[in-house]
């Protein structure tokens, strides 16, 4: 239900308890759907009905001698009788609570998806590749920490803003990575689609609520650009199609235009950051749809910036591929060889990148070996089919 984020957020702020807010919402949603006619203002109806229900529960518990303290916090019993009332917009507060830096980074995105988007626990578990009981335990523990540890239900002080915003963006980025890592491979198709849609909704919400934070806009643009290509990511056999070979006619140009507008607005703030640079790299690739080419020297410069902002082996690998496009496969290979192999050699992108450049350099046997190494790491189905096609084309061994 589209009203969910606003209503759950308002309830959580009123009740100061995530579980109570979720339960109250589910209950009033069920009653709302059972009404002979929908109420005039659905979100307001849901909010007032859910809050009254939750407060009734607290009052009964208090009468029974339990939760006396909780009852003492409820001072506004009189004002809940008025209906309808405007819902205070508490979505931003709720997002800051779910993504509090006192919660482990990997649980923040899960909690936001659960509480704000209402995604069922089994689906969140699938996304983060853990069992359902493990995910349920993580979420339960995080909610208990929010309740017991004194995490405030107010907006953070302005001075704490950068750290808190960073935690929100990192949570969203994790959810985004989870949604797009597997190219419609291992996740059931409907889960991937759901998650992509939910992450997009959440990212756009953050960009809307924090409209003067350019990194929030950058992240929303990044998600939009990935979603814009969703229809072109698989071929008729279900094999992955790499970005450079996708049929651009199957891209969603409304999303690309929206991403571009977000990035232009972000650029006016004059504060760049990793999300904006990643989005700019993705946007550079979309140029192929308009004039048939990608400006690889621009992509290379963007990777240089990204590497300075957020150094990592994966970013360095992306930079090596861009370098190969500008200066040739030998230079790209040399850049890859210069990276500390170690853990990188355990990842598929490393072997896929080497295979690509080795094939371009005419070193077919080595390219085939690199593809075998990537296949040996157990890629998801769509990627495996694509790698097998390429392995077949190299023809060696």
């Amino acid at each position: 239900m589209a009203a969910r984020p606003r209503v759950v957020a308002a309830l959580a702020a009123a009740l100061r308890d995530l579980d109570a807010a979720e339960d109250a919402f589910s209950e009033s949603e069920a009653r709302c759907l059972a009404l002979p006619e929908p109420p005039r203002d659905v979100p307001a109806w849901l909010f007032v009905a859910a809050r009254r229900r939750a407060l009734d529960g607290i009052r009964k518990a208090a009468a029974a001698g339990r939760h006396a303290e909780a009852f003492a916090q409820v001072t506004d019993m009189a004002d809940i009788i008025a209906l309808p009332e405007p819902i205070p917009d508490e979505r931003l507060r709720l997002l800051f609570i779910c993504c509090h830096p006192a919660l482990a980074a990997e649980v923040r995105a899960a909690l936001a998806l659960k509480v704000i988007c209402g995604l069922p626990t089994d689906r969140i578990a699938q996304l983060f590749l853990v069992s359902e009981p493990a995910m349920l335990q993580r979420i339960t523990r995080a909610k208990a920490k929010v309740r017991e540890a004194g995490i405030a239900f107010g907006l953070p002080a302005r001075g704490a803003w950068p750290e808190r915003l960073g935690a929100v963006l990192l949570a969203l980025e994790l959810a985004f990575t989870a949604a797009y890592a597997d190219a419609a491979g291992e996740l059931a198709a409907d889960v991937g689609e759901d998650l992509g849609a939910e992450v997009e909704r959440l990212a756009l919400l953050v960009a809307e609520l924090l409209h003067d934070e350019p990194e929030a806009a950058g992240l929303a643009a990044l998600v939009l650009l990935a979603r814009a290509r969703a229809g072109a990511r698989l071929d008729a056999e279900g094999a992955m199609v790499p970005l450079s070979q996708q049929d651009t006619a199957r891209w969603d140009f409304a999303r690309i235009a929206r991403a571009r507008a977000l990035m232009e607005a972000a650029a006016r703030a004059g504060r760049s950051g990793p999300c904006q640079v990643m989005a700019a790299i993705q946007l550079a690739h979309t140029r192929r749809a308009f004039d048939g080419v990608v400006d690889w020297s621009a992509v290379l410069r963007l990777f240089d910036v990204l590497l300075a902002l957020r150094p990592s082996a994966m970013v360095a690998l992306g930079r090596a591929l861009a370098l190969a496009q500008v200066e040739g496969p030998q230079e790209g290979l040399a850049a890859i060889e210069a990276l500390p192999a170690g853990r990188l050699a355990l990842t598929r992108p490393y072997h896929v990148a080497r295979a690509d450049l080795l094939a371009k350099a005419g070193r077919t046997a080595e390219a085939a070996a690199a593809l075998d190494a990537a296949l040996a790491l157990g890629p998801p189905r769509a990627e495996r089919l694509w790698l097998e096609q390429r392995r077949h084309m190299t023809g060696a061994g």
Binding site: E69, A102, A149, G150, I151, A152
Partner: protein, 119 residues
């Protein structure tokens, strides 16, 4: 609400050359922090503990009580002192925890269980 800020630090940071000066600087930092807490009107208490080598642990296991010469857990960082502060929420508690001078180690922040009808 009340929070306990537990200072777990590497005692060896204060050993060797420069150790005494570091200790002096750290203590000065604690004095400053106490002044800031007073100036901010925050109710607080706190103590500094003697080194972990002076600790004795009373262990209980299903009624059997034994004494152990040493701290509860043998780690690189030992509980060296604590504050109890009364602030509105976790964010404020974390803000004060960041201001505790700790050359090497960390500060664990835990809400104090409130005394009351459910105590």
């Amino acid at each position: 609400m009340q929070f306990m800020l537990m200072i777990n630090e590497d005692e060896s940071a204060y050993a060797g050359p420069g150790g005494a000066a570091l200790m002096e600087a750290t203590l000065a930092g604690h004095m400053k922090l106490a002044e800031d807490l007073v100036a901010a009107g925050i109710p607080f208490s706190g103590e500094r503990l003697k080194p972990a080598a002076t600790a004795t642990t009373v262990r209980s296991d299903n009624g059997t009580v034994t004494l152990h010469d040493g701290p509860f857990a043998e780690t690189h960082e030992e509980l060296g002192g604590f504050y109890i502060i009364d602030v509105p929420g976790l964010d404020e508690a974390l803000e004060w925890a960041r201001r505790i001078p700790v050359p090497r180690g960390g500060v664990e922040v835990r809400p104090v269980w409130p005394m009351g009808p459910q105590g």
